[in-house]
């Protein structure tokens, strides 16, 4: 039974997306959820192309200057480590992130 659960969890993990494995996995324990980060980016960059570009730039080269967090939050959470994902994986993860939280089609 224990072996079966292990195998299932391994299989599920194999099936999970880059975004789920690499982004949600860490952020689910963070006090600032994924959606909050998304709206902070949207508030600063507006369009899909600019928002995605800013996210990619920050994750590839995280710096105080290109973070959307306020100085207070930066002080509390520190600058994250540089991503280990390839360019393609990162773009895929960001695209999925955009699709989940985008405003288009959600307003009535």
């Amino acid at each position: 039974m224990r072996n079966l659960i292990f195998v299932l969890s391994v299989l599920l993990n194999l099936n999970a997306s880059v975004y789920q494995k690499n982004c949600v996995a860490c952020h689910k324990n963070s006090p600032v959820k994924m959606d909050k980060f998304f709206y902070l980016y949207l508030l600063k960059y507006s369009s899909a192309i600019e928002t995605k570009y800013a996210m990619k730039l920050y994750l590839q080269n995280p710096k105080k200057e290109n973070s959307v967090l306020s100085p207070e939050l930066l002080k509390r959470f520190k600058i994250k480590k540089k991503t280990t994902l390839s360019k393609k994986e990162l773009e895929k993860a960001i695209d999925e992130y955009w699709e989940i939280y985008k405003i288009f089609g959600k307003l009535k």
Partner: protein
């Protein structure tokens, strides 16, 4: 144009045409100028109206932004319903002009504008500093009530009419000033022609009557020939005098219609011109049908026939031919003269127009013929073979 109304000698057709063209051109430019002024006035009034509306719409946009901000902050806590307002309709666009959400009636919005009018809607665009819900532009749309437009159209119509009237009046006086020197010259010429014509009458009549009274049998052949030449000269001047009299006074002369026996009249005129025929050794052929009559002004018809004979003689060659034919519904005079080139045939009835300038004349003969024919309801046709013959047919 009434400026020309009192002239005794009317302006020639081409001059009238020039004046008409000037007046039309003036009218055209006046209308163009007024149109530009009207467009400028309309745009100025529209801008003023939009300026007045801008403050109100800016307040609406601020209200909408506050609601967008609230929705973004509470996006997961409240229903995701786009904020609506009874006073206006709105839409939000992102930084690359992609529509995020819209309640607008207009389909396309120019986000580069600040405020503008489109399909009877006033559109106001406000740039956001913080892009709530990703919106960089908030568009506010209100219906234009059109009151300003009615006011503008009323003003344009009333003031436009006044300005148009004033400009046309100015154009009229401008034309009057422009024509004044020309009018003075023509009036002087008119007076001169009238006075000269009047003065010509007495001596010509004296010469002709004295020639007629002289007893030809008492004179030797040489003197008789001289007297004939004087008579031809006097008659030529007399014809010219008659033409000038007709041109200057025809409009004041009443038409006295009577039944005219055409054979008798043509024979009389042939007799009158007999000396001219002889002087150029012209052979006259005539085929005049009896009992053909017309109800016309005899003096005018005589003038018409005289001019046709005068031309047939003047443009004929020495030892040429003239043939006069009278039928039930026409008479024609054919000469064996120089003929008229095809391209000049249409111009030949214009005053001062002469197809052949090698002989003397003023080019008024056929103009008189045409005028009389028109007034008496006759039809004049000219056909010609250049350097061979010319046939003038007068039909009714």
């Amino acid at each position: 144009m009434s400026v020309l109304k009192n002239w005794d000698i009317n302006l020639r057709q081409s001059e009238k045409k020039t004046l008409r063209s000037f007046f039309l051109l003036y009218l055209f430019f006046t209308v163009v100028l007024l149109s530009f002024m009207a467009i400028y006035y309309y745009n100025t009034q529209k801008d003023l109206m939009l300026k007045d509306k801008r403050l109100e719409l800016s307040k609406y946009a601020n209200d909408e932004i506050k609601k967008l901000k609230y929705l973004q902050i509470n996006f997961d806590k409240v229903p995701r319903i786009y904020p609506r307002d009874k006073r206006f309709k709105s839409a939000i666009y992102d930084s690359v002009y992609t529509k995020i959400f819209s309640l607008l009636d207009v389909n396309k919005v120019d986000l580069n504008e600040d405020i503008y009018l489109q399909n009877n809607y006033i559109i106001y665009i406000k740039d956001l500093e913080s892009y709530y819900l990703g919106a960089k532009y908030v568009v506010i749309e209100v219906k234009d009530n059109g009151i300003w437009k009615k006011q503008v159209y009323n003003n344009l119509f009333s003031y436009g009419s006044i300005v148009l009237f004033a400009l046309l009046l100015m154009g009229y006086f401008l034309l009057y000033l422009l024509l004044k020197p020309m009018r003075e010259v023509i009036s002087l010429l008119d007076r001169f022609i009238k006075d000269t014509t009047h003065e010509l009458n007495t001596p010509i009549s004296t010469i002709l009557s004295n020639i007629e009274l002289s007893n030809k049998h008492e004179l030797d052949e040489k003197l008789q020939k001289r007297l004939d030449r004087i008579k031809i000269g006097a008659k030529t001047i007399s014809n010219l005098y008659q033409d000038l009299l007709f041109l200057t006074l025809s409009e004041k002369m009443e038409s006295r219609k009577e039944t005219v026996d055409l054979k008798a009249l043509l024979s009389e005129r042939i007799e009158y011109f007999s000396l001219f025929f002889d002087s150029k050794k012209i052979t006259l052929k005539q085929s005049l049908k009896d009992n053909v009559s017309l109800h016309v002004d005899k003096n005018r018809l005589t003038k018409l026939i005289d001019n046709l004979f005068s031309n047939a003689i003047k443009y004929n060659k020495i030892k040429g031919e003239i043939e006069v034919v009278l039928e039930d519904n026409y008479f024609c005079i054919k000469d064996s003269g120089r003929g008229i080139e095809k391209d000049k045939l249409e111009q030949i009835f214009k005053r001062y127009e002469r197809a052949d300038k090698s002989v003397g004349g003023f080019g008024i003969g056929l103009s008189i013929v045409s005028k009389i024919a028109h007034e008496e309801g006759l039809k004049v046709e000219i056909s010609s073979i250049f350097k061979k013959e010319t046939i003038v047919k007068v039909s009714w």
